[in-house]
Subunit: 457 residues, 2 copies
């Protein structure tokens, strides 16, 4: 396993989540239960990830309070703000924030990401989500979430509007001719005047074109709609895959869709999630995992599982398998592919509800892998070389210790095998992922010359 | 003048704007024409202001590209992102971002400010604006701006929703009992379930209560609606006042409205803007001012003035006074009080259009004062002790040099006179302004116990 059979560069993203991805991580003696809102905690994590030369940091998000805050750390910081704070504490690593196309206005969000890209010197990424769930809808004046298909249609138009706004300043718009008193060439800043189904947005953006032009566009839904969306727009895809076979099938299917959408297959990087639990020996790793699982509150976790499966908690018996009569994916609104993954996992391995809870407690459906650093490196290499992944979304069960173990023990093995960079060679997030900067498309987006408003500040 | 006659603390806010508030500042040899999107430029400004122990930094904003970008630096960074970046580069100074109640969703904006307050350790402020103008409306699917009164009604309800969300976590909600597996007391996080005219927002916020509980609430409109809004909600008010008499009248009127609204007059700090142009001698200061005014492009500035006055540019003659038949304030939608201020200034001093353009070029209606550091300190002290101001919104004509001159030359005089702090004594922005932290109002806002959604992350 020490000679890489594949010289494609491998990519690693650190998915940060307060004290770790395991839902009981906060109950460990080492964990700071106030970490979720402590910027210093996140600065430490960012420094560790950057020491490991990782491509990027990633923060999930939804504009709603998920879960009963009583049982685990539920509050969080808004990701664009938190990653802006981390931009100042880092120099190289990419900064990927999740934001919802269902509950933001394109003009506001396009400005926030363009600004993050400026202040970070070209390190911004946007994980585009459509946000399922009535709870989120009820924070924005709606009674329920719009249908799945409609959310994705809106998301597509949202991305179109945002890219038009990011394109509304030409790269060379600012000429700064003090003598003539011409700061920018007026015809190099244009109003896209978007007119669509969901949005009417005149523009131009009030932020000059940023180092990357756009944030890196990331997508994480694996439903049919989600995969089609990714094929059209995404440059990186985060996905949950439990087995090598499933991961290869997903990878092949998505790359095929990318090609069918007229894009180069390499233009989209696919990163399955992995929850590594790293020990000095395999037994030690398994003991760490078991310790975490013992801290899960089974009755609380059962209620969460029932909620996810859209059934009554009383229908679940901790020491029996899932009942037969649960909904099908078609009946589910949001997180559709994750739903199927969980049901398939339980059926395939004949897990009791208690065992399933343990498996989900670590990564909410992402693959958990407990082992030595070498074993972790081996499985990453296997998936990478087998055509199941272009890299990985690393989701430590416990933070910061799990990220430290990954960076200090697994990364050096991957580097030694020639799979992973030993220094940053690029400056921007797209350069880390080997992706091109979007071209200046000012002329393409503009239907008529922009008539700009006069000053009124 | 060296013995302060008034021991109230004086407050100083630095209003940052790329290379300065004078519209021609970018044409000076010293100015970096790319500064508007350069976070390093703003870090330098923040460091200077913090060296001067100023209360806060402030950034104006509107979600629209104002003005022809050809003639002056028009692009900018989004203020919440920029101030988050500056939070990491500073330790004490407050960070006040402008954001619009007409074009944001309360849940999104409440999260952004709560997060900024967390990452800055309690230094966030929100300048609440309603955003006039059809150009902004057309970036958000509207044809024109909603009427003035309606914008202010929405703004009031927006602030109510935001404060309910900030109150939705009790101060002591997080108990972090690892043994019992109780992270937060569930009944200390509640959904406000707001139902109003403009908004329906369930909540709770997904950000635990921040160091200041709310950002400092700031307001800058001086119309009748604006003053009533300030009296109800604001803790600091930025205002444009040209003369001591007008400033005293405004101050008295607003404090009266604050008292009438059932609040303590001291609960609102009033800070008129001042554009100081500081020279080693008065002649030197006047020469600096004249040099800036010579760099104004008169035909471009005339078009801007015509736009502000809602008249045809051809009706303005650079070397004559304003025509008689211009609109009244009632006919103006947005920036109403500023409109009247400009017309009054021109009529009172019998200014030609060219002279008026010069006066507006420096501060867009804010008071410009050219003189030595002692003269600047004298006028600040005079306004402060005369009951025209609780402090000042300092708007240097040129940045960074004008802020440097103010901090290094004027501030020491104010300190020597016992008017201004020599060290920060507080930790949060509200502490700098001598204002109390909002009390825990969880019970007050909640009509029924919040039923929180189950986990689904």
């Amino acid at each position: 396993m020490t000679r890489p059979s594949d010289r494609r560069p491998l990519h690693l993203n650190a998915f940060l989540m307060s004290v770790g991805h395991h839902e009981a991580a906060w109950r460990l003696p080492e964990s700071d239960p106030y970490a979720a809102t402590d910027v210093e905690h996140y600065r430490r994590l960012a420094a560790i990830a950057e020491r490991g030369k990782l491509d990027s940091l990633f923060l999930a998000d939804s504009p709603v309070q998920f879960g009963n805050p009583g049982r685990r750390p539920a509050g969080r910081l808004e990701p664009i703000v938190l990653l802006t704070a981390l931009a100042a504490a880092t120099r190289h690593i990419g900064l990927i924030a999740t934001a919802s196309t269902s509950y933001y206005e394109p003009y506001n969000l396009a400005r926030l990401f363009a600004s993050l890209d400026h202040v970070s010197g070209g390190r911004a990424g946007w994980n585009i989500v459509t946000t399922a769930g009535a709870d989120a809808a009820r924070n924005f004046g709606l009674d329920d979430t719009p249908p799945h298909r409609e959310r994705y249609e809106r998301a597509g138009e949202f991305v179109e509007v945002a890219t038009k706004l990011w394109d509304s300043w030409a790269d060379d718009a600012i000429v700064a001719d003090k003598e003539r008193g011409v700061h920018a060439e007026a015809d190099r800043v244009r109003a896209p005047r978007h007119r669509g189904t969901y949005f009417r947005v005149d523009g131009p953006l009030n932020v000059p074109r940023s180092p990357q032009a756009y944030p890196l566009l990331v997508q994480a839904g694996s439903s049919e709609d989600g995969k089609d969306f990714a094929a059209r727009y995404a440059e990186a895809v985060f996905t949950a895959q439990q087995t090598l076979e499933e991961a290869k099938a997903f990878y092949t299917d998505l790359k095929r869709r990318v090609t069918a959408a007229g894009r180069d297959a390499d233009a989209v990087k696919i990163l399955p999630g992995i929850v590594p639990v790293i020990g000095d020996t395999e037994a030690h790793a398994l003991e760490l995992e078991a310790e975490l699982d013992r801290l899960i509150l089974p009755e609380y976790a059962k209620r969460q599982l029932a909620e996810r499966l859209r059934i009554d908690p009383d229908e679940l018996d901790l020491d029996a398998e899932l009942p037969d009569d649960i909904p099908t994916e078609d009946e589910i609104e949001g997180a559709k592919s994750r739903y199927t993954l969980i049901v398939d996992l339980a059926r395939r391995e004949h897990l009791t509800v208690r065992q399933l809870i343990g498996r989900l407690g670590g990564g909410r459906g992402h693959r958990t892998f407990a082992g030595t650093a070498t074993q972790v490196a081996d499985t990453l290499q296997q998936w990478f070389t087998a055509g199941a992944a272009d890299g990985f979304n690393v989701m430590p069960a416990v933070l910061p210790s799990g990220l430290e173990a990954f960076v200090d023990k697994v990364v050096p093995i991957l580097q030694e095998r020639g799979l992973f960079r030993t220094e940053y060679t690029g400056r921007t997030l797209r350069e880390h992922y080997g992706l091109p900067r979007p071209a200046d498309r000012l002329a393409e987006h503009v239907r008529e010359p922009g008539e700009l408003a006069s000053a009124q500040v």
